[in-house]
């Protein structure tokens, strides 16, 4: 539902949960210039508002709302960077004395976004400095987790020149360069130009939700906001790119990036979801059963699809001297999928796993919020149930066809120092 130009609301009315979830995200095109500033913005906004200038007073305000939370969020959906807040509060149906939590919670959210704590017309230098340090720690932590690091690196190499190659937190150098003033300017750009996705899930009806978000609408300037972009598809190079790096690791990390020629907008995306599940997405998959269990070539080996982008990643932990063998086996399992060499059991296990993951999305509010943000960022409106129904209908031939579209683009290997 579009509340005003470029400001959208998704409201899920349900009495299943004891909590209601509120969210507000700015959707901005992912670029190397703006990623760091956008990522830092919700973290600094969360430090204080004009009315609640520090963490203590914000905590007290949240305690008053039955111990609710409002967490800063940074997510990457396709080539869109989504920054903002997701909050969880006791649902109105369960308060003492029938108090309403939705309205004050939405008001607090709009206070965080619309009335930040400022100094001299920009963000407070102390908060900016401390949150820059925290963000840099988070970026460094990505290097510490070598499995995640290898995945970030293979995406950066494979999608160099595409917006998708930019990390959601931005680069360390870009964070270093931020000042309270440049952060303030970036924040104004988000406020004025970015598409806004509001979210609610709880017992209240849509009219009441809309009214509760009214204070937030008043802090969002009217005017034209950016639209959504579907990322361009690319073909893999004739010969896969190869990148090796050396770090202090005891176990090698192999990350392989594939082009899928298919993304969430495509009719046959459910078939690709099944390919991924048969190939490496579950504990009954080919990579898990063969490369890991049967041949013991890896400590782990799994595949995953990227949100709203024509990319699949395989990630694996291997001994340095077994990397060639592991790579060969990972590819040979893919060829099996492409040749239709998988049993009906394998297909059904994969289908049950994908369907169950989609259906149980509806059982967990945080997963549902994330699902709808992905859909919103792609401009799609299909719910998890309908998508599950499409997965049920996929045929073996369609799975094989989707598998045949997969081509290896980039191989990244993280090895130990000599």
């Amino acid at each position: 539902m579009e509340l005003q130009p470029g400001v959208w609301l998704t409201a899920v009315q349900t009495k299943k949960f004891k909590s209601s979830v509120l969210g507000a995200q700015f959707l901005a095109p992912l670029t190397a210039q703006s990623a760091a500033v956008n990522a830092l913005t919700p973290m600094v906004l969360r430090r204080g508002t004009a009315k609640h200038p520090d963490l203590e007073s914000l905590s007290a305000a949240l305690d008053e709302l039955y111990g609710g939370s409002l967490e800063p969020m940074v997510r990457k959906k396709g080539e869109t960077q989504c920054v903002g807040f997701v909050g969880s509060f006791l649902d109105d149906a369960y308060t003492l004395n029938k108090e309403q939590v939705l309205e004050p919670a939405a008001a607090l959210l709009s206070e965080l976004i619309g009335a930040p704590y400022t100094r001299d017309g920009a963000f407070c230098p102390d908060y900016t400095r401390q949150e820059k340090a925290n963000l840099i720690d988070r970026i460094k932590a990505q290097v510490n987790d070598k499995r995640q690091y290898a995945q970030i690196r293979v995406v950066a190499e494979m999608c160099a020149g595409e917006p998708f190659g930019v990390d959601k937190l931005g680069s360390m150098e870009a964070v270093e360069a931020i000042t309270p003033q440049t952060l303030w300017e970036g924040y104004q750009t988000l406020l004025n130009q970015a598409r806004v996705e509001l979210y609610y899930c709880g017992s209240a009806d849509p009219e009441r939700v809309q009214a509760a978000f009214h204070p937030l609408l008043t802090v969002l300037p009217a005017g034209k906001r950016a639209g959504l972009v579907r990322p361009a598809k690319k073909k893999a190079p004739k010969t896969p790119r190869r990148v090796e790096e050396a770090l202090d690791v005891t176990q090698g990390k192999l990350a392989m990036g594939f082009r899928t020629n298919c993304d969430a907008w495509d009719e046959h995306y459910p078939a690709l979801m099944l390919v991924n599940a048969i190939y490496g997405g579950t504990t009954t998959s080919k990579l898990f059963m063969n490369v890991r269990e049967k041949l013991s070539l890896c400590y782990y080996a799994s595949s995953g699809l990227m949100n709203d982008k024509d990319v699949m990643l395989v990630s694996s932990g291997v001994e340095f001297d077994k990397v060639g063998q592991a790579e060969g086996e990972i590819l040979s399992q893919l060829y099996k999928c492409q040749a239709g060499d998988f049993s009906d059991d394998e297909l059904e296990w994969a289908r049950r796993s994908v369907v169950s993951t989609l259906r149980t999305t509806l059982d967990t509010q945080s997963r549902m919020e994330d699902y709808w943000l992905s859909q919103s960022a792609a401009g799609l409106t299909e719910g998890p149930d309908d998508m599950a129904a499409r997965v049920e209908a996929v045929t073996r031939a369609q799975v094989v066809e989707a598998a045949q579209d997969l081509t290896l683009d980039t191989v990244y290997f993280l090895k130990g120092r000599e």
């Binding site: 349900t14 009495k15 299943k16 949960f17 004891k18 909590s19 203590e56 905590s59 007290a60 949240l62 305690d63 008053e64 709302l65 039955y66 111990g67 609710g68 969880s88 509060f89 006791l90 149906a93 369960y94 003492l96 504990t283 049950r352 796993s353 169950s356 259906r359 149980t360 509806l362 059982d363 509010q365």
Partner: protein, 426 residues
């Protein structure tokens, strides 16, 4: 089955007592895809001495945990794999007071329930598999002994308690488990895994009558009843020792501070004590208290600081811990704040906020099927209906929480355990 509605929580719970004494609770959650089942015995790490066949029996430390490991073995293989093949995610845990087995699934719930009830109620041990498990658990114990968080907890228990078996590590020691035989396991299984000493709790959109029918079909028809146990007599109110220090390979000192509280009787009294204890912790140590702000700004605690109120049969305690360059200073500041609160009382605005915050967290906890099922089971064992908490919570006033702080947060009831950096002691 008898169904009971809890309008304040929006829940309906079906309850049944089978002829063999097993209590079954089904929290029917409409519109959910997943279901969760939890099958537990009122038997944990601290139940080492009990009355069976006309005499008191002593068993080595670690039997409850050992049993938990071995129960998954079946005559035909392993129940974990059977459940996983049905798409369920199964697991189990042993605490000081209970042992619980559970699974979550979205399909074939009743098939999975049959597997769960069957492998937990039918023991299958051989001396050979017990010997093998001794090695595996021995490794686990060694790992835990290298874990400073675990060591600091047991050091604190030794400070607070003179003889209560909460002092004994749940998994036992390398030495204690070496005395466990297939015979020990069979005899403890017989004593504690009898239906009247167990509970089955379920959450999900499942037919409660069918849950009952399956339990009747699978489980034994008769039962030994509740087991009488011995925890070595009542503890004195004051601590056994005020301080204990260990050295291990840690980068900053880690500490755990505890206050020995009065244990509660069963039933509503248990729940009232538990809720009052939680509020007392919040009022003394919570994120929005003046003490927390002071300790944090002085760099005496960091983000790892955590606290809670714990209760077991025969013992109760407030515990708080984390990393600190000067744990003694933290303790002194907490004691001073306790004295101040006893003297001046809790700020009324703060108390009201904390009460809302704790209440909100309790109700929101019910979003988790796991939390719901485990809470229902634990409450059943302590003799109170878990879903009564809103009414009991309402009745807890500021004076009651201040009384808790006044009588518990004192130097005589305070214990401090510290792990300091240095060469580990073997």
């Amino acid at each position: 089955m008898v169904s009971k509605q809890y309008p304040r929580l929006g829940e309906t719970v079906f309850h049944e007592i089978l002829e063999n004494g097993l209590h079954i609770y089904v929290d029917r959650r409409r519109d959910f895809q997943k279901s969760y089942a939890f099958f537990a015995t009122n038997y944990g790490g601290m139940d080492m001495r009990f009355f069976q066949d006309g005499r008191w029996k002593d068993t080595p430390a670690g039997v409850a945990h050992f049993l938990e490991h071995k129960m998954f073995d079946t005559k035909d293989g392993n129940a974990l794999q059977d459940l996983a093949a049905n798409g369920a995610s199964p697991n189990a845990f042993t605490s000081s007071a209970i042992t619980g087995y559970y699974f979550e699934s979205t399909e074939k719930f009743f098939d999975n329930l049959k597997i769960l009830l069957s492998f937990v109620s039918v023991p299958y041990f051989t001396q050979e598999s017990v010997d093998k498990e001794q090695g595996i658990i021995g490794q686990e114990i060694r790992m835990v002994e290298d874990d400073p968080e675990n060591q600091v907890f047991y050091a604190l228990m030794e400070c607070l308690y003179d003889h209560h078996p909460i002092r004994v590590p749940i998994a036992g020691t390398q030495e204690s488990i070496s005395h466990i035989t297939a015979g020990t396991l069979y005899s403890c299984h017989k004593a504690f895994y009898n239906p009247a000493n167990m509970v089955l709790t379920v959450a999900g959109d499942v037919d409660p009558e069918q849950v009952c029918a399956i339990a009747k079909e699978i489980l034994p028809k008769d039962s030994l009843g509740q087991m009488e146990r011995d925890y070595g007599g009542e503890e004195a109110p004051n601590t056994a020792a005020s301080e204990k220090e260990l050295t291990m390979e840690v980068s900053t000192p880690i500490f755990m501070l505890g206050f020995k509280c009065d244990p509660a009787g069963r039933g509503e009294e248990w729940m009232r004590r538990e809720l009052a204890g939680e509020l007392a912790c919040e009022a003394l140590l919570g994120n929005s208290t003046p003490l927390y702000a002071k300790l944090y700004s002085q760099g005496l605690i960091n983000k790892n600081f955590s606290y809670g109120f714990e209760m077991y049969p025969g013992c109760a305690m407030m515990v708080a811990g984390g990393e600190s360059r000067d744990p003694q200073k933290v303790r002194d500041a907490v004691l001073a704040e306790g004295e101040r609160l006893a003297r001046e009382g809790i700020d009324a605005g703060l108390f009201q906020r904390l009460k809302k915050g704790v209440y909100g967290a309790k109700v929101r906890g019910l979003n988790s099927f796991e939390y719901t099922c485990i809470s229902m089971a634990q409450s059943h064992f302590t003799g109170v209906d878990y879903f009564k908490f809103p009414e009991i919570f309402d009745a807890i006033d500021q004076a009651c929480v201040e009384d808790c702080i006044r009588s518990w947060v004192t130097a005589q009831r305070c214990g401090l355990a510290v792990v300091r950096p240095g060469e580990g002691e073997a």
